[in-house]
């Protein structure tokens, strides 16, 4: 071998060798840079790598760009650990600042549009004052929640919670809290983005000072972080209702949350757990529902809201990427701990919407929007019918036009509750709640009728008239379709398994919603089932032995629902095996018959 070949071979060997060993240091490098190096071996390796940690902390964006560039060179296990880094924001000339008590790490850009206001005249020199204000605000929020009995948001290895300051005004966001890593079967860590200054006009800085916007955003978003720690599978409407409600518990003077109430009251015929979609603000979904938490907190204590989250924390994942419907959880909590029901408390709330006899935050009661009537009647007689989805309500105003005496006759299905008021005082119903009498009805009087569906079943109906005429109302036959994906019903299965939230019940509910209700035959079957099953379910629920039998009978159905092909194959096989002796017996009979003839 001549010298050229020898050199070439040496170069190739060196290149191959360097490639084979370079994956390790590269992996270690990125794991170290993103704080994911955990083993002793890695820590030793890190010590041997010359890295300017301060510089690396200030260069988050190049680091992430490098990670993206080198991604395919990393080992699969390293990719798994660092995948989330590509989802984190990249900041220009990133710096970080830890809050005084060490619970939060504020990530901020030193240059560019994401940079916070640069003023630096107090506190730590070299750190913008606004960044220190952010850190202090979050520490204040943290302390408040701990004092209220909430558990802090989980972080990996009790690291400080990551908060990124970004210019979110173009996206019209105050803040975003994103789930991250599971630390148990249901608890998950998270990280947060908030606006870098809250000075843009969309935040109304002339009404809400940037500090105030920061305060309510910190209170709101950090409660989401806490919620992720209780149970990742939380129902989004209730998460928003709670985060909004608690803004006012921590920062009573800001009062931005009152702006979300009118949208709900003017859309009161939509369900309490209406999905938080793109139209959330315009229909009052989620955010507007905070006032229901105010009612619960007033009737019980603010701790009741925390116990709702603690109750949720005890529930398992429903599976299938679904969240846990909060309405049954609230109902269960109110029944088991507060000697009430969601039905009673929702009705109590709907009445308070009109009576406005709120007790807490007395100086802000005037900020709570008044009820919004669905219709106002001034000519008589009246005959009207309303059908409501689950946990929804409707108000009707009556004004006099010469009549001095008014009787409202009510014909309703079982899930409807009604109330009538005259000038703010409730009128007692006559004859088993089927009519209300308004005497001495004057032009200055205000008469109001409340109709509420206080069940988790859609389609309850009320008919009311002023002349005694009546329209037939029929009990709803379809199941509830909860906005958050969970429905009601499955009575027998719920009775058999003991819980609406039992995984087997959820499988059956999923089957009903996604397959049976998609075709006419299936809908007819479901309607028949809901007509016949409630009494049977009640009976089963009261007998442990029957519950066991029902579970046994339901098992093959659940298996068929979950594993349709396998079940089908088994049934086919069974049918073939059964058909043979039956066919043989049939042929024997035929043969015998032929002989007899």
């Amino acid at each position: 071998m001549n010298s050229i070949h020898t050199r070439l071979l040496l170069v190739i060997v060196t290149l191959v060798f360097s490639q084979s060993v370079s994956a390790g240091p590269l992996d270690d490098y990125y794991l170290q840079q993103f704080g994911e190096a955990k083993s002793v071996q890695l820590q030793k390796a890190i010590l041997s790598v010359s890295v300017d940690t301060q510089e690396s902390a200030r260069c988050g964006m190049p680091l992430k760009k490098g990670l993206r560039r080198d991604w395919d060179l990393l080992e699969a296990s390293t990719q798994k650990v660092l995948a989330k880094q590509l989802a984190y924001p990249t900041l220009e000339s990133e710096s970080t600042f830890n809050s005084a008590a060490g619970h939060f790490k504020i990530h901020y850009a030193s240059t560019g549009t994401d940079a916070p206001p640069p003023t630096d005249v107090s506190g730590v020199i070299g750190v913008p004052d606004w960044v220190e204000t952010v850190a202090a605000t979050f520490e204040n929020v943290y302390t408040s929640y701990i004092n209220m009995g909430y558990q802090p948001a989980p972080t990996v290895a009790a690291a400080p919670y990551d908060i990124y300051l970004l210019d979110l005004a173009p996206q019209k966001y105050y803040g975003v809290t994103t789930s991250d890593q599971f630390v148990s079967s249901t608890a998950v860590t998270s990280w947060m983005e908030i606006d870098n200054n809250f000075t843009d006009s969309i935040y109304n800085p002339t009404i809400y000072l940037p500090l105030q916007s920061l305060q309510i955003t910190a209170a709101h978003e950090y409660h989401h972080a806490i919620q992720y720690g209780y149970n990742y599978y939380f129902d989004i409407w209730y998460a928003e209702a709670t985060s909004t409600w608690i803004e006012d518990e921590l920062y009573d003077g800001v009062n931005q949350l009152y702006n979300y109430i009118p949208a709900w009251f003017s859309n009161s015929t939509k369900s309490l757990d209406l999905a938080v979609g793109a139209d959330a603000v315009s229909v009052g979904a989620g955010y507007g529902r905070w006032i229901f938490n105010r009612y619960l907190a007033e009737k019980y204590t603010p701790a009741m809201i925390r116990t709702a989250w603690e109750k949720l924390a005890s529930l398992p994942s429903p599976g299938g990427g679904a969240d846990i419907p909060m309405v049954p959880v609230l109902d269960s909590l109110l029944s088991s701990t507060y000697s009430s029901t969601l039905s009673d408390d929702f009705f109590g709330f709907t009445k308070r919407v009109y009576t406005r006899d709120w007790t807490n935050h007395a100086y802000d009661i005037s900020k709570i929007h008044v009820y919004s009537p669905v219709a106002t009647f001034s000519t008589y007689p009246v005959n009207s019918t309303v059908t409501l989805p689950h946990y929804a309500f409707a108000y009707y105003d009556f004004t006099t036009s010469g009549v001095t005496f008014l009787t409202i006759y009510i014909n309703k299905t079982s899930g409807i509750k009604t109330a009538m008021f005259k000038n703010g005082s409730e009128i007692t119903a006559e004859t088993n709640g089927t009519s209300y009498v308004v005497s001495d009805f004057r032009p200055t009087d205000k008469v109001v009728l409340l109709i509420a569906n206080t069940t988790n079943t859609d389609g309850h109906t009320a008919n009311f008239s002023t002349d005694g005429t009546s329209t037939v109302v029929t009990e709803p036959t379809t199941s509830t379709t909860s906005a958050s994906g969970g429905g009601g019903g499955c009575f027998i299965a719920t009775a058999a398994y003991g819980s609406y939230l039992h995984p087997q019940v959820q499988q059956l509910r999923h089957f009903r919603d996604n397959y049976l209700l998609t075709n006419a035959a299936g809908r007819a079957f479901v309607a028949l089932y809901y007509r016949c099953s409630p009494p049977l379910a009640d009976f089963i629920a009261q007998h442990e032995f029957l519950r066991g039998v029902a579970r046994l009978l339901l098992t093959p159905i659940v298996i068929a629902v979950v594993h349709p092909l396998a079940s089908g194959a088994t049934l086919l096989l069974a049918a073939i095996m059964l058909s043979r002796p039956l066919r043989r017996r049939y042929l024997e009979r035929v043969v015998v018959g032929q002989v007899q003839y």
Binding site: Y173, V176, T178, S282, G321
Partner: protein, 168 residues
């Protein structure tokens, strides 16, 4: 077994059979069909907002496209194999100032595919959050989710929620 029971079991079988929903259901086998992710599920048609979408055709490997005019490379699925194509996404909800709901694709995320409780293969989402994997016909769990049946020559589309974003 009484005939009535047999009839009921067959009826049950009939009702439960539509449970798996492969992308090839009710579509011609000799043309490409497009599916985009709408934040909840894959729905027919290319994405109108310029985001990536899937081209699916029986017996061929599904393809992730970023433009309707893109040329689709045809790769035949190996004999006895099917495919799973999907997207990993963060569910976005809320928006105090409006417009926060939707989803955010999760790029470069490893997705574990297992069968019979054992790891079979790990694939990675692309820059658009999509992944495509060819698998022998069988039953698999994708990302720890519910079982998915892969049939020969057919692509099954799977949206995987890998996180939540509370947007306010």
């Amino acid at each position: 077994m009484p005939k009535v029971v047999c009839f009921l079991l067959v009826l049950l079988l009939f009702l439960t059979l539509p449970a798996p929903a492969p992308a090839t259901g009710n579509r011609p086998v000799d043309v490409w069909n497009f599916y985009h992710f709408d934040g909840i599920a894959f729905t027919p048609g290319p994405a109108v907002d310029g985001s990536a979408f899937l081209a699916v055709r029986e017996k061929l490997l599904p393809v992730v496209l970023t433009a309707q005019t893109a040329t689709i490379e045809q790769t035949v699925l190996p004999d006895g194999s099917g495919a799973i194509a999907g997207i990993c996404y963060l569910q976005s909800s809320g928006g105090k100032l409006g417009g926060g709901s939707g989803y955010k694709a999760y790029p470069r995320l490893p997705v574990l595919i297992s069968t019979e409780g054992k790891e079979f293969v790990t694939v990675q989402t692309d820059d658009h959050g999509f992944f495509v994997v060819v698998l022998p016909a069988g039953v698999y769990s994708v990302g720890g989710g519910p079982s998915i049946t892969v049939e020969r020559g057919i692509a099954t589309l799977v949206p995987l929620r890998v996180g939540k974003r509370m947007v306010d």
